[in-house]
């Protein structure tokens, strides 16, 4: 196997693992957040506006972890620096 093939193979497999493993934690956390927020809103419906704002901000914070994984896997697939380097080297 030449370098290009190995790099492509490893990049794609790693991208898949990155997003799939990286999404587990945020998914569980967001589920917990929503459960707690719903319980709180059910107890205090008057505070629903404040609670949902905090809910949004909290979910956005948790979400960004999954987004980091997404960005890394996107870079691995579409803008892989090693791949570009080796393609440039073989073209020379």
């Amino acid at each position: 196997m030449d370098a290009k093939l190995i790099i492509g193979l490893v990049s794609i497999i790693t991208a898949g693992f990155t997003i799939s493993i990286g999404a587990i934690g945020p998914a569980l956390a967001e589920g917990r957040v929503v459960v707690q927020a719903l319980a709180a809103i059910a107890q205090q419906p008057d505070e629903a506006a404040t609670l949902s704002r905090i809910l949004f901000v909290g979910i956005a914070m948790i979400e960004s972890i999954a987004i980091y994984c997404l960005v890394v896997s996107m870079i691995l697939i579409f803008a892989n620096p090693f791949w570009n380097h080796f393609v440039a080297m073989t073209a020379r």
């Binding site: 929503v34 719903l38 809103i41 008057d46 629903a48 506006a49 404040t50 949902s52 704002r53 809910l55 949004f56 901000v57 979910i59 956005a60 914070m61 979400e63 960004s64 999954a66 987004i67 980091y68 997404l70 960005v71 996107m74 870079i75 579409f78 803008a79």
Partner: protein, 253 residues
């Protein structure tokens, strides 16, 4: 495939390369400035509001109320900064459904620039309100041992702010392009419709987080002896429906 409009170079002037991000940022700015100029041509304080003046008043008052609720202080000096961020990001994200328009927020350069604005603005507001010494002392709390952590936290939240917005907008665009090749016609349209919602929610979240960061720099030592007491505006407890939050459980993946 391009994952950033930075890579689309529209005009090459030797050293200076005009890429799509720049062009679409300028377009958005021109559109917003033109609309604002046009809408504020004939302002009236007596009856007969034009629809555009009505829209702008709703927008400004909505942002004011949100800032007052979140920061628990007078929105005065924050208003222009936060509202500018919100309106620019929201417009850029919403215009993404226009064919041919590449949202400038889908480029890491733009979002980093916006996050750096927040990064610079937070100490500026803090120093202006509290003075340099009191503001810097803030970094030594609760103990001087926390100084490195406070600084790293400041940097990390800037990074998170920029990558979050970039990731959301970019993933929407890339997924749209991928779906277009796999299942044309129907699913991409649905995804674009979802992208409208995501874009607005992300603009809201960016503005809320910017408000939180600015307010944290200003109001942290309200109850302290060192800080000047910041006048707190009466917080309206109205449970009126807020247009941006009313959904409650809107998903925004």
């Amino acid at each position: 495939m391009n994952i950033s409009p930075d890579q689309t170079i529209l005009l090459d002037l030797g050293i200076v390369k005009i890429n799509a991000t720049l062009v679409f940022t300028w377009l958005t700015i021109a559109l917003l400035a033109g609309l604002a100029r046009w809408a504020t041509r004939r302002l009236s304080t007596t009856g007969g509001l034009s629809p555009w003046q009505n829209l702008l008043e709703v927008l400004v008052e909505g942002v004011q109320r949100q800032i007052r609720d979140i920061a628990r202080q007078d929105p005065g000096s924050f208003l222009s900064f936060i509202a500018t961020l919100f309106i620019f990001i929201a417009t850029a994200n919403l215009l993404a459904v226009v064919p041919g328009y590449q949202p400038p927020t889908g480029s890491l350069s733009t979002t980093t620039a916006l996050a750096l604005c927040v990064f610079v603005a937070a100490p500026l507001y803090g120093i202006r309100r509290l003075g340099l010494r009191v503001y810097l002392k803030n970094y030594l709390k609760p103990t001087p041992l926390m100084l490195p952590l406070n600084i790293v936290g400041e940097l990390a939240r800037t990074l998170a702010l920029s990558v979050r917005l970039y990731g959301n907008v970019m993933s929407g665009a890339v997924l749209g392009a991928i779906l277009l090749t796999v299942t044309p016609l129907f699913f991409p349209v649905l995804l674009q419709a979802l992208g409208l919602l995501t874009g607005l929610v992300q603009a809201y979240i960016f503005a809320v987080l910017a408000t939180v960061f600015l307010a944290a720099g200003v109001a942290a030592q309200n109850r302290d002896n060192g800080g000047t007491p910041v006048p707190t505006a009466p917080v309206s407890k109205s449970t009126a429906a807020r247009p941006t939050v009313a959904g409650g459980d809107t998903p925004h993946d």
